[in-house]
Symmetry: C5
Subunit: 91 residues, 5 copies
């Protein structure tokens, strides 16, 4: 899983039926220290995350579909599976 910050969302009227009723969040990966990285991706929200939140993203079809819709086999490869309260680094 990767650490990311929610930086926006995407609106798509014409889409796969499995996406109905779900929010497609735009996320940017961050370092453990919280700095922005180049990598961005789209992920379905499954934990009621909001814009600006630091989140955990799972990226694999079976896992992400199950997290986001409760069923495997949906057309989903990335889901937000947690909202991060705190990152503890070894000092």
């Amino acid at each position: 899983m990767l650490l990311a910050r929610v930086i926006g969302n995407v609106v798509a009227t014409q889409k796969n039926q499995r996406y109905e009723g779900s929010r497609i969040m735009l996320c940017r990966q961050i370092t453990p220290e919280g700095e922005d990285m180049d990598y961005t991706c789209l992920a379905l929200d499954s934990v009621d995350s909001g814009e600006g939140d630091i989140v955990i993203i799972a990226q694999e079809g079976w896992s992400a579909s199950t997290a986001a819709t409760g069923k495997p086999g949906a057309a989903i490869d990335s889901a937000i599976v947690g909202v991060v309260d705190r990152v503890d680094l070894i000092s």
Copy 2:
């Protein structure tokens, strides 16, 4: 999933039978701000997308096959699963 723009398509007569009747679109990844990136890929259309459209691509065999053909196990790892109307970034 990733954000991309449809930049063309590929014609292949000699191909896996699961591709029959499907359009193989050539797509270029874009940044959230809409700028071209280096990464390009081929993706089966599953939402009647057209050239020039900004699209959402799912990249994983189980998910992409299900989206593009209604069944898992097809020889497909990337499918266009949505056409983007609008990207909303946190200002």
Copy 3:
């Protein structure tokens, strides 16, 4: 899926039984304009492709195994699933 050119093949006597009778092709990724890229990979042929051909490669275990052997669960993560006749780019 990715666009690639077949640049050779690999001979391996000591191998997983699922590879028996299949050709293991060495492929180099190309840009939509046909230029060589750095990325190379091995892919099982499933569409009678030949050296020098521009091909479509699917990269995911379930999809690639099904394409190359007709069954999932083979020890295969990449298969050639089409031979490209023509790439049409938006002008």
Copy 4:
């Protein structure tokens, strides 16, 4: 699988139910010689690893879910599956 060092952990109250009772470790990939690399990821612990340990991480939904929870289909794409005692390089 990849070699990594456990460098911390992440606390998330609001998360997918499959993560309940599991520790989410923050890991940094290392070279075979033990030097830090840029890549970091989050992985569920499945072998009672501790901070500072050199570990083996498996990264794929089916495998990682099975390792971390005993069942496939969990919202997990990376799990710590071993604690490394020794790396032997050909001299």
Copy 5:
């Protein structure tokens, strides 16, 4: 699949039970011409490969688990599935 050279192995006493009795090989990716690349990974041996061998590595959970243990669902994402005798490049 990718071309690699076996450069060592890893000893781990505390590990997932599916790894019992298997050798965890440390591998470095090579170019088609045989030159070392930066990428290294850990892969379970399934074809009795030895250190210094040029090998074929399959990287995907379902495929790699099946190759290495005969069953899917093991905590394995990479397996050595062949020992290369010869690489034939188009001249």
